[in-house]
């Protein structure tokens, strides 16, 4: 038997990982839906910022594509305006922009029109030569979700899924609108791309604090021994928004809070909080553990839905003296809409570590403030030696609460009891705070910057895999099915409040109450 020995690519002798930002290989990024909001607000500002910070290869190019007819120069002009408007915590530099803009190109085209893909191939060939992108291409589907399958099949038809370098595709959420459609979409994608080439983006996983959960849990030995049913009473995951649907009424009416937030973002956050430690910190092992956790979540029986899940919809309210419309009064929303703008679910995880520990997950629009956090409520000490003085008299306290704040102020705080100074054994809860922004003064990269660099570098750790997506649909599908056949008495909470009363009742049945974050 003879073996072909291929020389290994040489390591860059000038690389300095201690001081230089992580390198990504040369590539072209093709954005479908380039004239859309996501491109303008997130993708181009993130790419510019990465370029400004020299975190992407100088040999890169961006090819925008959408139906709007535009020249390269016009596209550059539109994107310049977007980048200067939407750049977060960073300066806009005219000179750097000029350099960046040399790598921006535009191919007008319709996803349904095969000729558009021929134009795209020509442009890719041209930038491969002019910008030395080494044939590497990252496709970014930032289009209407209903076009995903079609666009991917066309890429395959035009042989754009193969080339001299690697080919990868990033797909935005929602990934399907239910379990069946997600499976169908996966099947379509796999006709063209291998699973290893598919990057399903969930920008929550790109947030620094969500990544920090892994460092916090598995980089420290003091918390992990407590991270189980023996010490944890329950977990609350909250993603509250103070805004309404903000002009996205038509989309939101079809999606709803459960689909829009819990099926994807919050189930992934829950998996990160509850997963087992991976044996090695690499994309396969981390994602295996996340997927395993999601598969361990108990799938509700239809008869359990009413006691384990709550739907809500905001009605009109008054905040700060300002009248706010109800969901049904929002533009493009049906007057008798049955869409959930609030959802709360009690998940149970059937594994050795978490059996019997409820994971309460809630999300909603028009809640009192914008906050996303995870609260681990530890059990009370076995013997209540100390009580806390309250207005209504002494009360036993459950002091130990660990809160991981994801937004707006990323950080971690641990609450514990301490003796109040002075005579007598009076105790009060105090808090130990770690604030991400103040402890690490450097600018935190946005989730999209992190995720784009990861995709270019071929690191899918923070992307969701097919089995994870399907497992997360599996756990919300029974709720969606029951709700689809229910008639709710909406609205059931006023704008500016913490959601419907039934949500409080869901926790009260277990002797728990929602925190006020």
């Amino acid at each position: 038997m003879s073996a072909l020995v291929q020389p290994l690519p040489e390591v860059n002798p000038l690389q300095d990982t201690l001081r230089f930002a992580r390198r990504v290989p040369p590539c072209a990024v093709v954005i479908f839906g380039a004239s859309g909001d996501l491109s303008k607000r997130k993708l181009l500002p993130s790419l510019y910022r990465l370029f400004y910070e020299r975190r992407i290869s100088p040999n890169f190019a961006v090819i925008g594509s959408s139906r709007t007819p535009m020249s390269d120069d016009r596209f550059r002009g539109v994107m310049k305006e977007s980048v200067s408007n939407f750049l977060e915590d960073a300066p806009f530099d005219e000179d750097v922009w000029k350099s960046f803009a040399q790598s921006l190109f535009y191919v007008p085209g319709d996803l349904n029109n095969p000729a558009s893909y021929d134009d795209l191939r020509d442009k890719l060939d041209a930038v491969e030569k002019s910008h030395q992108t080494a044939g590497n291409v990252l496709f970014y589907l930032s289009t209407q979700p209903s076009h995903y399958a079609e666009a991917i099949l066309e890429l395959g038809q035009h042989n754009l899924n193969h080339g001299t370098g690697w080919r990868r595709v990033i797909i935005e959420k929602p990934f399907g609108h239910d379990l069946d459609s997600a499976r169908k979409l996966n099947d379509e994608i796999h006709k063209v791309f291998d699973e290893s080439e598919v990057y399903r983006i969930d920008h929550y996983l790109g947030k620094e604090t969500v990544q920090n959960i892994l460092a916090f849990r598995f980089g420290n030995s003091m918390f992990e021994p407590l991270w189980n049913r023996r010490y944890v009473d329950h977990v609350q995951i909250t993603a509250a928004e103070s805004i309404g649907v903000e002009g996205r009424g038509a989309y939101y009416q079809e999606a709803g809070a459960l689909r829009d937030m819990i099926q994807n973002h919050l189930s992934q956050v829950m998996a990160t909080v509850a997963m087992e430690p991976p044996s090695v910190f690499d994309s396969t092992n981390v994602r295996d553990e996340r997927a395993k956790l999601l598969r361990s979540v108990r799938v509700m029986k239809p008869e359990d839905v009413s006691t384990h899940a709550v739907a809500g919809q905001y009605g009109p309210g008054k905040v700060g003296g300002q009248d706010l419309p109800g969901f049904r009064q929002e533009p493009s929303v049906d007057r008798d809409s049955q869409t959930d703008t609030y959802a709360a679910v009690t998940f149970l995880i059937d594994n050795w570590r978490w059996a019997g520990v409820p994971f309460y997950v809630r999300t909603g629009k028009r809640l009192p403030k914008r906050v996303t956090d995870i609260a681990i409520q530890f059990k009370a000490p076995p013997l209540g030696l100390f009580t806390q003085e309250t207005k209504t008299g002494p009360r036993e306290v459950r002091p130990n609460l660990l809160v991981v704040r994801i937004q707006p102020e990323e950080g971690i705080s641990l609450r514990f009891l301490s003796k109040s100074p002075g005579s007598g054994m009076r105790v009060r809860p105090v808090s130990m705070d770690f604030n991400y922004g103040s402890s690490f003064g450097e600018r935190t990269p946005t989730a999209y910057e992190t995720l784009l660099v990861d995709a270019m570098a071929g690191d899918p750790t923070l992307y969701t895999r097919q089995d994870m997506v399907e497992a997360s649909w599996q756990i919300v599908q029974p709720i969606l099915d029951v709700w689809a056949h229910s008639r709710f008495e909406f609205p059931n909470y006023a704008a500016g409040t913490w959601g419907p009363r039934t949500s409080d009742e869901m926790l009260a049945r277990n002797g728990h109450v929602w925190r006020i974050p």
């Binding site: 860059n12 230089f20 040369p26 020299r54 290869s57 100088p58 040999n59 030395q132 080494a134």
Partner: protein
């Protein structure tokens, strides 16, 4: 916000002073009814300065550094104007992140020593370092680094170096041969040494290194047989020698130094030559660098002169050995010998 109290330089008294300082900050908290101050410390940072360094505001720099590297800062000022042989004051450096109610505060201790007392400062410093955290010594006392250093200065320097995990100097104003010999001697003693002249190069090194991330290019790296460095100033500064060492080290490329007019001190242009391609990286204007290749590519980068706080911010992120620096330093030592 900061407050200050003067003490004799006895560790116990200084620590007591710090304790009182925190108690007084806690009083403010009590009045506000909620936490208003967060105490932060990730290292002890000792900064030694001398008379020649009077324009440098250590407090200001430490307060800039604390945003990324909160520390217990100890500023050691050696001055023959000092009234007592050793005295100290403590203060808190605080900043309030934008939009936040809580201030982040770091402790700062300022010790003033007469030159003859400097060798005795070691025991005081040992008692003042934050427990279980790295001790970084930033020596801005140029007199002690010079060939003409007095015995007291040498002994004083030694006293502080002995408790430091890492020593940071800036050789930009020193004779390169002397500076490299000094650093080599410390390295031979097993000390971890960093030079801000190397840190200044990151802005040049990173874009250059980036070029060779391309597989085709990296395979051709060994073919770049000549490295030319155009520098301002009469002789190549340590930074010029470092960058030459860094680029020529891996494959022993031939090095040429040329004196040219340019913007600011140090490197003006770096040229890499192979038979097939020439790459030039030049400071083309005071705030811009241009990277050109004979294959037709040109790219501009913004250039910002890094001040002491920016350089230290980077250097404090590297608390362990720095392999790239060590390799460049070895080759730079050879180059400086060849120049003589």
């Amino acid at each position: 916000m900061s407050s200050a109290v003067i003490f004799p330089a006895q560790p116990e008294q200084i620590l007591k002073g710090l304790g009182k300082l925190w108690t007084s900050l806690g009083e403010e908290e009590k009045q506000h009814g909620k936490p208003t101050v967060l105490r932060a410390c990730a290292m002890t940072l000792i900064v030694a300065t001398d008379e020649a360094d009077r324009g440098f505001c250590a407090s200001q720099t430490i307060s800039e550094l604390m945003r990324e590297h909160p520390s217990r800062g100890i500023v050691l000022s050696v001055s023959d104007r000092a009234e007592k042989s050793l005295e100290a004051r403590v203060l808190a450096q605080c900043w309030k992140p934008f939009g936040k109610a809580q201030q982040i505060c770091c402790e700062q201790i300022e010790i003033t020593a007469r030159p003859e007392s400097w060798p005795n400062v070691g025991p005081t410093l040992i008692g003042l370092t934050a427990a279980d955290l790295p001790v970084i010594f930033w020596c801005r006392h140029q007199g002690a680094l010079n060939a003409s250093a007095t015995d007291d200065q040498k002994a004083g320097l030694e006293a502080v170096m002995n408790i430091a995990t890492k020593m940071i100097v800036d050789t930009s104003s020193l004779d390169p041969q002397w500076a490299f010999d000094l650093l080599a001697r410390w390295q031979a003693q097993g000390r971890l040494v960093a030079d801000l002249e190397w840190t200044r190069l990151t802005v040049w090194r990173e874009p250059l290194a980036h070029i060779f991330d391309n597989t085709a290019r990296v395979n051709n790296f060994s073919k770049f047989h000549t490295v030319e460095i155009a520098h301002t100033g009469e002789y190549p500064a340590p930074s010029v020698l470092y960058v030459a060492g860094w680029l020529s080290g891996p494959y022993r490329a031939h090095v040429k130094f040329n004196k040219e007019e340019g913007y600011g001190a140090g490197i003006h242009r770096i040229t890499l030559r192979s038979d097939a391609e020439t790459i030039e990286f030049e400071r083309s204007s005071p705030d811009c660098m241009t990277l050109r290749s004979t294959n037709g590519r040109e790219r501009k980068y913004s250039y910002e002169e890094a001040g002491p706080a920016a350089l230290m911010t980077e250097e404090l992120s590297v608390l362990g050995p720095d392999a790239a620096f060590s390799a460049a330093f070895r080759r730079a030592q050879e180059l400086v010998r060849e120049l003589r």
